[in-house]
Point group: C2
Chain length 245, copies 2
DNA sequence: CGCAGCCTTGACCATTATCAACGCTGGTGG
DNA sequence: CCACCAGCGTTGATAATGGTCAAGGCTGCG
């Protein structure tokens, strides 16, 4: 790796891309912001994981020893109440970070929703690398603030939107969520079940199902399969999402 | 300011504390992490604001030109739907930052809830300072991740808790929220109205009122005045907050 | 082909919102 | 100094949204 700089340009570029891919740097758009040696060090810390469907990445209350980066597939992040009620706080896709929050223990659980892969870093090593890499720290700060804005939008949804508005908001947001696997125009892939949608939107399975049926009846959406739909009237969907109808 | 280092120790310490106070550095616990020259530069960028009750600090959609730090009083942060429904996403107290999220425009509005004060920094200058001050960046990243964890807890509350559980959670959290003005043991100050509590908890004023009455009747809390109450049975309150009853 | 898991639909119910009236409190002006 | 008023909070009656319970249908896999 050390002679990387001295290789012909094309080769360096290729090696660079490989390094990005291996540790997930490309997926999380860090690639462009870091120089060669920083990428190599990041890569050296990465431990690759293959994820089965439903596999647990981390559990609320466990000692927070690792930081993850999703490199393919999708992941659900959630919190539970003692009686089993579940709130999914977010879905992660290729490129998303997980477990960055400081603290002794994880404040949430995370499981793969479909087969995929992730990178794992020991938190202590990762933090040391961050210390020495201001560019990485800046990226993480940017990400954290972006997530915070998304969390606020979700609070508005959970606290003040009707069931119809919630589902419409969710479907609208899904058109842009899965950054690494952009479906064709107007087509949305839903890697989660109705139950997961419900637990994300603060509703029950039945209510989600009823609202989907209604949107279908009103020709706002069309179901291609259970997990794929096309948005027939995007402007109408957006109006519903913002409570303008 | 430049000769600060050469002053006798006692004097430097005093000057340091003053600088902390002026720009809010002491309030946000940044004081201890920055060295003298960094504090002086932070202070030089700060513009002090006096806040009247209800005064608007920033409005959703406005160009995001400033970063704020609350130095006294309390602030509500909220998002609105077109028809006026409001979700308060957080309450800020002395020491809290506001407006750090990157982006062209603010994604939320913020208003003072009572007379107080704040510091304002031009975002461009602030970002430049951050770039040169890794310690400051680390603090902000830490804060952002902490806020993110709080936001996830609030999503669980809004999506899955009953009215009783929400109010109990809120009162429990309030015992530790206002860092700069810790009330005496078991006494909670509520700088917000019932309407603001309702908009924070995703309920109506009436429901909040009814639940408070119920908690009062069951001797879990005791109202000292409209804006101050004592928690008589903290363990019971906590059990209710987590849905263990 | 049959079963398991997920989804949909229907009937009924409960929690919380809505609408309405009344009470308290603090500030102001007669 | 007292009375009135405005704003906020409480309480009650009723309504509606979404939850619960139950039954049946689809689909993919063994």
């Amino acid at each position: 790796m050390l002679e990387l700089k001295s290789l012909p340009d094309g080769c360096a570029a290729r090696r660079r891309t490989e390094a990005c891919d291996r540790c997930g740097a490309r997926a999380y758009s860090v690639c462009a912001s870091l120089d060669e040696s920083e990428l190599v060090r990041l890569d050296a810390l990465a431990e690759r994981l293959a994820l089965g469907s439903g596999q647990v990445l981390l559990r609320e209350g466990d000692p927070a020893q690792h930081v993850f980066n999703v490199t393919s597939g999708s992941v659900r992040v959630y919190k539970l109440l003692p009686d089993g009620r579940r709130q999914i706080t977010g879905f992660l896709y290729a490129g998303d970070f997980l477990g960055l929050a400081t603290g002794e223990r994880y404040a949430f659980s995370a499981e793969a929703m479909e087969p995929g892969s992730a990178c794992r870093f020991r938190k202590s090593e990762y933090r040391a690398l961050i210390q020495e890499t201001p560019a990485l720290e800046a990226i993480l700060l940017e990400r954290a603030n972006h997530e915070l804005a998304a969390a606020q939008a979700q609070m508005l949804l959970l606290g003040r939107k009707t069931a119809l508005e919630r589902v419409a908001s969710f479907l609208r947001d899904m058109t842009t969520a899965d950054r690494m696997r952009p479906a064709q125009e107007g087509v949305v892939r839903l890697p989660m079940t109705r139950g997961e949608m419900a637990d994300y939107l603060g509703l029950t399975i039945e209510t989600v199902s009823r609202v989907m049926t209604r949107l279908k009846t009103e020709n706002v959406i069309r179901l291609l399969s259970l997990n794929e739909l096309s948005i027939e009237r995007p402007e109408r969907l957006s109006a519903l999402a913002d409570g303008e109808a």
